[in-house]
Each structure stands twice: as structure tokens, then as C-alpha cells.
Amino acid sequence: MSASTREAVLGRIRRSNGARPNDPERRRIVEERMAGAPVGIVPQRGRLPQDEQVALFIRMAERANATTARIAGYGDLADEVSRWLRENNFPADLRMSEDPRFANADFDATSLTIRKGVSDGDDLNGLSHAETAIAETGTLVLVSGPENPTSLNFLPENHIVVVKADSIGGEMEAVFPMLRARYGKGEMPRSLNFVTGPSRSGDIEQTLLLGAHGPRALHIVIVD
């Protein structure tokens, strides 16, 4: 880093703000703010009992043009994936992540051609597991890592995402304590993806078109 530019920029900010560089009071305010991470205003919309949060999540995700299905357990996942692909006339090919939660899903019993791991860019259908989801806006929360490579969220033509019903939270603020518990305070996965519906563009005459550069269709499977 160009240390001199850094000091010049920070120095100008201090001068403009009339602030002293080593003011312990200011440092305390800033450190407390980051440590305390006050929650601010959380809309009433998502503040519901958990089962109603799942219902709200489904409603909001569908409003964002995703489709949803609810299954009793991972044992039903392979059938649900096959059904959705078949009913939409999508090819019986699937690139799936190696999330350990898929261990109880029996894809061998289906006629799907399965490939695993990172997407090569030619995958028609992808399957990932979300960490959690947000009822308030129908948003999926996916984290990067060897279990769920981020490229699966963006490269396949169609994306199927599994989320556990009991992991769904009311609002975005419910996600952050979970991240801090898993990665540590101030630490993050390399990529944290909030996904609300399939990709879209309004760049031609402000007309909404689904299926821009990311997936054209998003199917969410909620596992009880």
C-alpha cells in the first residue's frame, strides 16, 4: 500500500472533520460500535412464530419469481429434484454440491446424470444447500466453501437450493449472529450470497426480463 497516500487521505479526513488522530474517546466510540453492532430498526413483517416465518418465506420467495416445494426429509429430496426437472422439461442432468447434508438423499435411485463439485460453466442444473433463509424478503443465504462452491449459485441455467425449515429466520438481522457463531466475530466466509429469486434485468426499456446472467429459474426445496 502507498503509505503516504493513505496518511494524506486520512489526514485530510481528520482535518475536515476537525478530529485529532489519536483521540481515545473517538476510538472507544468506534470500537464499541463495531463490537456491539446495534440492531437498529427491524420491520414487524418478519417477527412471527417460526412456522409462520416459513409460510412468509415461501410467499415472499414466490413473489420474487422463485418456485418452492416442501418435503418431510432429505429422503424425499432426489424425487423432488427429479420431479421439478421433469415437469419443467429440463434435462436430467444435475451438478450438485458435496454438502454433507445431501448424504441421506438417494440420487442413485433416480435417472439423473449426477456430477459433483464446482461448475464448469456448462451445467444446466445446479443443486446447493443454503445455510439459512430470510422470511421478510424470501431471501436465501448461501456461504462459500468446499461444501457449496459459489459458482453453483450463478453458472447453471437452473438452480435448486435446499434449506432446512428450522433454519429460516424472520429477518436479515437473524443471519449475523449465526455467522459470528460459526466464523467468529468480524470473520466471514469468502463469499456470502443473499439470493432473492432468479436473475433478471430491466435494462431494455425498463421491462423486467427473467434470466439474465445468473440462473433463469430458482427452485427452493424446504426440508422439515
Binding site: 487521505v9 453492532a37 430498526i41 460453466g121 462452491p149 469468502r190 435494462d203 431494455i204 426499456e205 434470466g211
Partner: protein
């Protein structure tokens, strides 16, 4: 890019006569205003969130030096590199240095306004590096050799017919008889062509909607997914961001996200909101090998502590231009630089100087809609007035205008004299107008009377009529 803000008047004359542009601009009102209102009405806490967002940004700006220090430490801890850039030229040099070290030939780009601000594309081309815009709107205007005319809808000035013509002109290896009538097929064609580019790119460039001090993350908010493919598949990810993008925590980011998408496109949440922290990790199967942030000042640190500080709260949602009657009429290119509409009219003079910004602070009817819809409650009309004052103080207006204003100010500050002068002038003007009771031409007001007649005064001033009417009313009561 060449700055044409100083010829704003001439730009607008051209824009108003441009039939295709006028057709395209019709989509701004249709496409944004109702959607925003519907989204806002569906969230009772919207105004409270605005207040909190203002408080968050004000707090951050007050301690910006410390939040930047905390942010840099977190980026470095996650394996990323932060480069401070004084100005556009410095930022370009830093970028070229990163590109040279990687022997970069092609650069994919998600949507970034800072790239426009530093003129990155032209600079890369001069240095033999190919920039590829991947956002559909940015891709369209790159094909056309243009600049964005809107901060979130860069090709809002282009019609579907023009896009089709551009695609046929440039995509010559595709079947010339293909059917491109439906907008979906245009989108599909762009998707197809850009798909190959992401993984070939040596560098993927994105902007940032937020930089989070707590975690050292850069945040992009998009709908198409191109920004994510750009930052994920390029071998090296370079974030272009300006210093005021800092927010303290994840929770603060969530607060502002709630008002950002609603104000911009009327969505509760954009399709993709992605937080990126550092390069690919050891166990990761994908991700960039390097992660750089170029943190641009370019005049912003000098805005702190001035009457323009509040402009640094701007989150680039575009609501002000979507609701601006001037923008609706003349489009974004008339503003002559990177940032159009009311936010551009305030920010441009701050960044390039009021002397180069010409009429921008005057490009307002002061109807106040921009301020009323601004999620960050930035007093845009008030700031345009500040610029007008500075323009006057620096003697930037033509002499006739200054003299006119001076004469008016002399009388306006002396009410007795003002009323006397006006009550004398009224009957004279009535007399001069004659039986037509209107003027087809007037000295010093040719610009006005060129397009319409000026109705002549009816003989008495407002104050005279007011005095008479209130007297009559009180008289009736008695």
C-alpha cells in the same frame, strides 16, 4: 471522458430534439416511480429506516478515518490489499500496476460508477487491455461507444430497436436472419456472448455498494448476476470504491439495504446481494487468487465539514433522477459527466469544480421531489442553492445575468422602494402592451419570448390587490 457539463444548455437543446431519446425517456417515469411507491407503502417502517440510515452514515462520516483504518486492517487480515488513490489519475495508475503484474489482457467488469469517474475503459484500451462490460445495460452502451445516462439503468436512453441494430452490427458471426424482436432474445444473446468472457478474464472489476469496517467485506447489490460472475471467475478481483462507502457493521448494512432496493427499483431486495471478503481460501474450489480494493478519494475528503458533506451519504439508488422533471425531459447525457440528475448537479461541482460544471446547479425547478424521495434525506435543492451562491460569488455567470440579479437584489432588499417601483411599472407595462395585452418580444428577455408571449400585467400589483381584498373581507364582517 470528455466533460461537457459546461455546455449543459446546448446539450439540452439537442436532447429535447432527439426523437429516439425522448421515446426512451418515457420509460423512466413508467419504470420506476410507481414501483418505488408500492414497495415503500408495503413497509410501514420505511421512514424510520431512512432516519436510522441517515444516523448511521452521519456517524460513519464523523469517524471516517477510524472506520477506514479498521476496514483496511480486516481486508489485510483476510489476504486482500487496499490501495489508496488520491484522484482519477492515481487510481488508473494503481490499476495498471496490478494489471501489468498479472500480465493482464482482458478485464471483465461488473457495473461500477467509480470506473466511469476515473475513465478506466478508455485508459485500459490505450494500454492494450480489453475491458468487457458484463452488465446488460453497460454492455449495450459499450457497443455504442457511449457513457451511462443513469446510475442504475445505464442504457435507459436507448430503445429496444437501437439495441437490436447494435447487436446486428457487432455480433456479425451470428446468423444475420435471426429473430431478435423479443427483448428476451436480445438478453439471451448478450448472455451467450458474455458467458465465455468471465472465466477468460485476467481481472474481474466490480464497484461496491458498501465496505464493511467490521469484517473487511465489499458488498455488491445486483439483479443480473454478472457482477458475481465477474468477481468470482476472474483470476483477480479488483474492487473500485470511494471512501464514503464505509459502514460500521453487518447490521448497519442491513438497515441501509432495506431502503436501497426499494428506492432504486421498487424491489424489497435485489436478486443478488453479495459480501466478498478476501481472495480464494485454501479449501475453496472457486474464487479469485487475488483481491484488491482501490479506495478513491478524488475530492471527497474535502467535502467533509462543508455544506456539501451530506452528499456523502448518497447510496446511488437513482431515486432523485427517477423523480426529476428536468432529468425526464433532457436525460442523463445532458449533464455532461458521470453523475446525472439532482445528485449529479450537486456532486459534479464538488468533484470537478463549479467552474467546469456550468449550469448543473441551475438544472432544477426546485420542485423538491428529489429530496422527498431521497432515502438518505439529502437536501439536494438546498445544496444546489449553495452552488448557485458560489457560482455568483466566483463571477461565473454572464455579466448581463449578474447585473440583472444585482438590480433585482437592490430592490428586493428595500421593500418600500420595490413596491413603489413595481406599482409604477405595472400601469406602464399595461399601456405598452396595448390592446393585445401581451408582449411578443421584450428587450433582455428574448430567450423567453422566442417560444411564447409574455402576458402583460393587468394594472395593479399583488400587494395592491391583496390590501383591497382583505379590506373588503373585513368590511363584510362588520
Amino acid at each position: 471522458m470528455q466533460i461537457t457539463s459546461h455546455t449543459f444548455k446546448a446539450n439540452t437543446v439537442k436532447a429535447l430534439a432527439d426523437v429516439e431519446l425522448q421515446r426512451a425517456l418515457g420509460h423512466v417515469e413508467k419504470g420506476f416511480i410507481d414501483k418505488r411507491q408500492t414497495a415503500v407503502d408495503a413497509l410501514p417502517e420505511f421512514d424510520a429506516l431512512r432516519d436510522n440510515a441517515v444516523a448511521i452514515k452521519n456517524h460513519t462520516l464523523k469517524h471516517l478515518d477510524l472506520y477506514i483504518e479498521a476496514y483496511v486492517a480486516k481486508v489485510e487480515a483476510s489476504g486482500g490489499i487496499v490501495h489508496f488513490a488520491e484522484d482519477a489519475d492515481h487510481a488508473r495508475k494503481i490499476f495498471l500496476d496490478i494489471a501489468r503484474k498479472r500480465n493482464a489482457k482482458t478485464v471483465t467488469k461488473g457495473k461500477t460508477m467509480i470506473s466511469e469517474e476515473i475513465g478506466l475503459n478508455a485508459f485500459l484500451e490505450e494500454n492494450g487491455i480489453v475491458p468487457v462490460e458484463t452488465d446488460l445495460g453497460e454492455y449495450i452502451i459499450q457497443l455504442r461507444g457511449e457513457h451511462p445516462s443513469h446510475i442504475i439503468a445505464p442504457a435507459v436512453h436507448v430503445t429496444r430497436d437501437q439495441v437490436e441494430a447494435d447487436f446486428r452490427r457487432v455480433h456479425v458471426d451470428l446468423d444475420p436472419n435471426r429473430n431478435l424482436v423479443e427483448p428476451e432474445t436480445l438478453l439471451g444473446e448478450a448472455r451467450q456472448i458474455l458467458r465465455r468472457k468471465y472465466a477468460e478474464a485476467d481481472i474481474g472489476v466490480t464497484g461496491a455498494n458498501f465496505l464493511i469496517a467490521e469484517t473487511g467485506s465489499s458488498v455488491i447489490v445486483t439483479n443480473e448476476g454478472n457482477g458475481d460472475l465477474t468477481q468470482l471467475l476472474g483470476k483477480c478481483h479488483v474492487v473500485l470504491a470511494s471512501i464514503e462507502k464505509l459502514v460500521p457493521t453487518l447490521e448497519d448494512t442491513a438497515q441501509i439495504l432495506r431502503i436501497l432496493a426499494r428506492s432504486a427499483t421498487g424491489q424489497d431486495m435485489s436478486v443478488y446481494t453479495t459480501l466478498s471478503t478476501g481472495p480464494k481460501r485454501d479449501a475453496d474450489l472457486d474464487g479469485p487468487e487475488e483481491y484488491h480494493v482501490i479506495l478513491l478519494d478524488n475530492g471527497r475528503s474535502n467535502m467533509l465539514g462543508t455544506e456539501f458533506e451530506e452528499m456523502l451519504r448518497c447510496i446511488r439508488c437513482g431515486a432523485c433522477m427517477n423523480h426529476c422533471p428536468v432529468y425526464h425531459a433532457v436525460g442523463g447525457h445532458s449533464y455532461g459527466w458521470v453523475y446525472p440528475g439532482p445528485m449529479g448537479a450537486v456532486l459534479t461541482p464538488s468533484l470537478i469544480g463549479v467552474d467546469k460544471s456550468g449550469h448543473l446547479p441551475n438544472a432544477s425547478t426546485f420542485c423538491g421531489r428529489c429530496e422527498s424521495v431521497c432515502p438518505m434525506r439529502i437536501p439536494l435543492p438546498k445544496m444546489m442553492r449553495h452552488w448557485r451562491e458560489k457560482e455568483f460569488e466566483s463571477h461565473l455567470q454572464p455579466r448581463t445575468q449578474r447585473t440583472g440579479l444585482g438590480v433585482w437584489a437592490f430592490f428586493a432588499r428595500r421593500p418600500v422602494l420595490y413596491r413603489a417601483a413595481v406599482s409604477m411599472a405595472m400601469p406602464l407595462l399595461k399601456l405598452a402592451a396595448g390592446r393585445k395585452r401581451r408582449f411578443a418580444s421584450l428587450p433582455l428577455a428574448g430567450g423567453w419570448t422566442k417560444w411564447r408571449d409574455l402576458p402583460a400585467p393587468e394594472g395593479r400589483t399583488f400587494m395592491q390587490q391583496y390590501a383591497q381584498k382583505s379590506h373588503a373581507t373585513t368590511g363584510d364582517k362588520r
